[in-house]
Structures are given as C-alpha cells and as structure tokens.
Amino acid sequence: MTAAPFFEASGLCKSFFGVQVLHGMGFTLRPGQVLGLVGENGSGKSTTMNILGGVLPMDAGRMTLDGADYHPRGPREAEARGIAFIHQELNLFRNLSVAENLFITGFPKRIKGLPFIDRGRVAARTQELLKAVDLDIAPNTPVSRLSQGERQLVEIAKALGANARIMIFDEPTTSLTTRETDRLFDIIGRLQRQGIAIIYISHILGDVMRLCDDIVVLRDGHKVGQAARADMTIEKMITLMVGRTIDQMFPPREPPVTLGAPVLEVRGLNQRGMVKDIGFTLRAGEVLGISGLMGAGRSELARILFGMDPHESGDIRIGGTQVRELSPAACMDHGMAFLTEDRRAEGLMMEASIADNIALASLPKFGRSWAGFIERTRLGDEVQRISGAVRINARDIQRTLVKNLSGGNQQKAVIGKWLLHEPRVFILDEPTRGIDVGAKYEVYKIINQLAADGAGVLFISSEIEELTGMCDRIMVMAQGEIRAEFPRAGFDREAILRAAMWHGMKETA
C-alpha cells in the first residue's frame, strides 16, 4: 500500500525577528501514512506545523496538495483544505456540549439563510462522528464532564467532521492514562486505514517507534534525519536530536551508602476517594519514586502532603516535627517544597520575569524591618546565583518573561524558585513532563545534586524508565493505596507496571 504522496513540502524557511528558526524543512505524505516528527523543544516542529496549519506564513519554500500549490492564508483555509490540528492544549469549549463543539464553526440550519439550528441533524451527525472514534457518550454531554482522553477523541471527531485528510497530533498522550493512550493508538490506526495521513509529534520516542511508518528528526530548524521505522532506533533518534551521543539517559548517581534521618514520615493518611492508609518514610539523601497510573492517587497524595487539599486522618512529620495544620505556608516553614504537575497554572506567573518567579516563594526571607522592605541587592544576587545553578538559558533574568521561555527553561525556573527556599523535602510531580531530552537530563542532574546535599526527594512520574533510572526506591500506587515497594536492586519494569495495573484489571474483569 504505497500510494503516491498527495502532499509535499520542500525548502520551508521561517524567521522571527531576523533569527532563522527553520532551514529548508521538507517532507512528503502519502494517504494512510503516519509520519513521526521528533526533536527537542525549539527545534522547529511547531513552526513547521503552524506553517502547514496556516497559522504562520512561510518565508520561503513550497507546499503542494494534490499537485496544486498550497499556501494557506489562515487556519480557516487550512481547515477547508483538509488539514486538522489536534492541539496539545485542547481547543474545546468546556462549557458547551460535545455536539455544539463539533459544529461550532457551522451549525446545520433548518432553513438555509435563517439562524435556526437543526438540532436533530446536529445530534444525528454527532452520534455518527462519535461512533467513528469509539466514544459512547450522548451528544449533549458537556465537554467539562469528559476526561482528557475523551476530549481528545472529540477533537478527532471534529476533524473527521471537517473531512480532514491530514491530522496533526502534537504531544497527544501527555495527559492520557495508559488505557486512553492505547485507545488513541487504535483510533489512529483506524484513521490510517481510512487513508488519512497523520503527523505525530511526541517526546515519547517509544510511542513514535510503535506508531510511525517514517520518522523525521529536527534539530535547530534543520532536518537532520529521516528514515523508515525499520531503519530507526530510539538511540539513533536521540543522537540525531541532541547532535551528540547521550550514552545514558540518566546522569550517573551514587546511591547513598547510609541514608540520613527521616525528613518526611507519613502514617495512616486517609482521605475518602483520594488516598487510603498511606504510610512511608523518606530519608535525607534519598530519592523515593512514586509510580502508578493516572488517577492512582499520586498527585492527590502530593497535594495533601503540601496542605493544598484536606485529609481526614493521618500523622505527618516533616523533619521530625509533627505538622498538624497543613498548609503550603506551614509545609514551607518546615522545609518542604512542591513542584506541581501543572507548571503553567500552578507553578509560574507567566507574565512575570524569571527573577520575579524565582523570588516568589522566598520573599519573606529577604524582608527587613517591620514593614518588610525587600533587600533588593541580596535578593537579586541570590536569584542570579540560583538561575545559574539550574542553568536557565536567558539573556536577562530580570527582564525576560517566563512565557517566552521553552518548557525546559520554564521548569528550571520553577525548580529554581524552590531551590532558593532551600528545601529539605522536595516533592516533584511529573517534573519532566513536556520538556525535551536535554532539559530532562539537566533536571535529573539537579535532583541528584539535591539528594547529594541531603534533601529527601519524592519523585512522582508516569514514566517508569525515569523512575528506575533516578530513584533509590519506588513505591507503586493504585486506587489511592501503596500497592508495592521496590528497592533499587529489585527494579523490574514489568513488575512495577503489573503492581500499578493489577487492581484496575481485577475490577474490569
């Protein structure tokens, strides 16, 4: 089934403010082909896709669709020509129903020219489209009630409704559970069989290998490699992406010979519907991983420990002292820090400078006299030191706004904010989500350094490889409980996954 390419892009170039970010990018698409696009953040993937989707005009280059020139003047034209973008941050109206979302750009009318919506036809067509993506919900269900995975399927249904021939998936699995991911891949296979061409962008290289027929690797706006799946390996992709060999994905870590005193002790922690009878001890110098599927209660546990959500019973000691009234401020006073999984909504002030963000959690430490005047020189020096320590790549941390940074640098800003606070217990919830390979490596190095300096690190992650590569010990959570615990010597990817899935499987059986 090697049909001829129907889409071709060649020599695409793009500059922003005189800086060229795309150098002669090109690729072709056949009906039913899945093309993987990988590269670090800032390598030009999104720019390429934005040109394809009509969001950005190209400076030079040529695109053809069915042999005719394709130069979209805007997203609407791209959509009309059959190009659909399934966004990373989903573009649905949460307050509207599924059906309303599918037809928001053009409701079928009862009478042509009059503004009366034909609700019957909307419902019928919605049902048809939902069936095509295996989504068994009523057309009038509000989108706000759907899970992330279901919302994504609605987006795909929307693209199908617009008769898309090319569908672009940008990091589609970052917020999906394993099961939802499997479901998504099934749907992608089905789209493929219908002759729809897929462009699949992801940092999860295993998924790319599993899914894509051909893989294009970008680095600094250049296409540095293209190969069919059979001729590609994950190691090769990484080497091409970073332009150097990363012998290991993880920095070497000397496991501490003797662990320090307990820095976080949790006993009998309960909150109905969230966590059940949680107990563990985290020691100074230790990196303790928490594995589990989405919804297993990992983030919920972290939020309770940091005093953001209530708990019904349980005994929590931070640094040896029992903390009865948990709140972020109280936890911070005892030396705890928390990097949440949602850095945009909960970690950063996007419109503020890097320096302001790093300073935020430690301001009282720099307040002088009863009025709390900030010692600005000392604060500035400290923020500068931290920014250097976490290697934030920006020219002027006082003036560069966080929203202009790449995901990796943004995450380093959040980490920097907590480092300035000098935590003894650091809870990290998905610290490497959505950041590129190089930045991940640097985050790992920071975590190792923290542990070496005597902090206890609680490391929550959905990537088992990451946990086995970084942790001294891994706990597995499922349904709000700790189901298993593995010492470093006994790390076994399959056993961990089995512990995480076991209960879920029993329930569905």
């Binding site: 970010v21 302001d356 935020l360 709390g372 900030i374 995901g407």
Partner: protein, 347 residues
C-alpha cells in the same frame, strides 16, 4: 510544544527592540499618558488661554488630590485582580459619619473637646470598616469582588442618605464644620495646599509598599497567578483582605479632603466619580486583569482626567456633554490598552 515558536520571538525581541519606530515606542511607553496630557493641554491653551493661569493650575491640582488618594486605594485592589466599586459609598458614608461628629449643629463629639480628632477617626474608621467588610466577603466567603462591592456600595450609599435625613434638619447635609478641619481641604502653607501634602504622603507610602515590600510583591503575584502564589506560600486571602482594607482607608482619607473642600458632610459625595476612580487607574496603565500597575501610573491617569475635566469646564460645556466626552476618553484609553497589550504579545 507551543514554546517552539515562542522562545525565538522572545529572545529575538530584545535584539530588535531598539529598531522599533518612535511611534511604537511612544505607544508602549508608560509615559504615554503624560504625553497625551501635554498635547491636550496645549490644544486647550489655544482654545481657552485661561487654562494656563496659575489659579487654574492650582485649581486642577487641588481637585486632583482627593481623587488621587481614592484611586491609589483602588490600584491596590486592581493589582490583585479585584475591583472596589464601593469606593464612592465609602466617601459618602465617611463624610456624613465624620461630619456628624464635628458639626457645630449638635455634633456627637462636641462634648469631648476634640471633635476634630474624633471626626477624623470616624472618617478613617468608616473607611476601614467598609473595606474590611468587602475584604471579608471576598476572601472568607469566596464572593466575586464585583458583586460584593456593588452591593456594599448600594447599602452604604443608601445608609448615608438615611443617616443624614434622620439626623439633620434639612435632611441633606452636615454643615458648620470646624474651620481647622475645613483647612485640611482648602488651606495652604506658603501657597502649597495641605491636601497636596496629605495626598503626597499617601502616595509615597503606597508607592514604597507596592514596589519595595514583601507585601507589595505578594499583591502582584496574586494578580498574576493566585494559584501559583498560594502554592508558593503567599497568604493570598490575608493579602487580598488587606488590599480591600487599604482601599477603604484611602477612601476615608480622600473623604476628609473632599469634605473639607465642600465644608459639609454630604451623602451624595462621590456619587458620580466611580468611573473617574477606576478610569484614572486604567488610563494610567493599571490592568483590570491584575498583576500590573504602579502608583505613579495612577497619578498620571488622575492628572490626565483632571486636566480633561478642567478643560471641558473652561470650554463652557454642560455637564451632560462633559460626561459623554469623558466616557469617550476613558473608552479610548481602554482601546489603547488593548492595542498595547497586543504589541506586547508580539514581543
């Protein structure tokens, strides 16, 4: 992945900033309002030369002061992404409460021997109390600031009217205030109005609080991202409560100046200046979406509105036209703010 496209313009913008045209730089400047004020003034000068006399200028200055004080209070609330619509009612309630203490026609505090002291305490106290009430409703009960302050405005405006009609003979105002008190609003020291010194002091304290203290930094953080602020240990509810209390306090102080200027405590004080209060802050560049604002910007906004006001008065326009034109001016400022916001987004 959206970062792919954003990192480049962000870092490139620094390099290209100096190349921007003069017009764009002017548009983006925080001094734009000052430039517009100057242009307006020059145009008016051509039309009504009397605007440039010392008397008129002093008049503008005096009229600015109470508005400046109450608008500074508003700035605190705007920075935490709130709004204090109750400000006019704070002016009115403080005015009648304070005046009823001091009035020579049977003021409550006359027997104390220091009626002015008690009166001033009443002004400030009423402001603090209403601010505290607003703050408690917003932070403890989780109500939207818009609804809270809209309703407290109605209540206290009504209450001020009721209080006045119940306690005065003519039912409209408390007159015969001590001359030492009236001097706060009208008196001068070597030509410098006392009100200027009072407003200047408020401005200085507010400026230092916002720009130099931990509390000030917290307010900006809350306006920019309240969730991130809370997780970073910022006492969000306490800080927002204080922002409303400060707004109330500023209302009380502004009411002292207004009441002194009018020589009467009246429940209709400030009835029509809500738009001026919020508008001058916004014209100056304080964002309605929170996290952005400075005391100096509010000063520029107040200056602009006061000059516009005086100019229109001198042109001899009737009140209705003045209102229409002022509305138009504030609308243009909002449009300008949106344009500037877009330019910022483009880097």
């Amino acid at each position: 992945m959206s970062s792919t496209q954003s990192i480049t313009p962000g870092s490139a913008a620094e390099a290209t900033r100096p190349q921007r045209s003069f017009a764009v730089r002017l548009l983006m400047s925080e001094y734009l309002v000052l430039v517009l004020t100057a242009i307006y003034f020059l145009v008016m000068w051509a039309l009504v030369p009397s605007i440039a006399t010392a008397d008129t200028l002093l008049d503008i200055l005096a009229a600015m002061m109470p508005l400046l004080v109450v608008a500074i209070g508003q700035t605190f609330v705007l920075i935490v992404a709130g709004i204090d619509l109750a400000a006019p009612s704070i002016l009115a309630a403080a005015s009648v409460a304070g005046a009823s203490m001091m009035t020579g026609e049977g003021g409550f505090a006359l027997f104390t021997g220091v009626p002015i002291g008690v009166g001033i305490l009443a002004f400030v106290g009423v402001g603090l109390l209403i601010g505290l009430l607003n703050g408690v409703c917003v932070t403890r009960l989780g109500m939207p600031p818009f609804i809270v302050t809209l309703t407290t405005m109605m209540f206290f405006s009504g209450f001020a009217l009721f209080y006045t009609s119940a306690l005065t003979d003519d039912g409209s105002s408390f007159g015969d205030l001590p001359s030492a008190f009236v001097a706060i609003g009208q008196g001068t020291w070597h030509g410098v109005p006392y009100s200027l010194a009072l407003a200047g002091a408020v401005m200085l304290v507010a400026h230092l609080t916002l720009s130099r203290t931990v509390f000030g930094s917290w307010l900006y953080a809350i306006g920019r991202n309240p969730r991130a602020a809370a997780i970073s240990g910022v006492p969000v509810r306490r800080a927002v409560l204080w922002a409303f209390v400060i707004s109330g306090l500023c209302g009380g102080i502004a009411s002292i100046i207004y009441t002194g200027r009018l020589e009467t405590g009246t429940p209709v004080l400030g009835q029509r200046i809500l738009l001026d209060i919020v508008g001058s802050a916004v014209i100056g560049g304080v964002s309605l979406f929170g996290g952005k604002g400075r005391v100096t910007w509010t000063l520029y906004g107040v200056l602009f509105l006061s000059v516009v006001d005086k100019g229109l008065q001198l042109l001899g326009l009737d009140l209705a036209s003045v209102f229409a034109i002022k509305g138009l001016v504030i609308l243009s400022a909002a449009v300008l703010d949106a344009v500037r916001h877009r330019l910022t987004l483009r880097g």
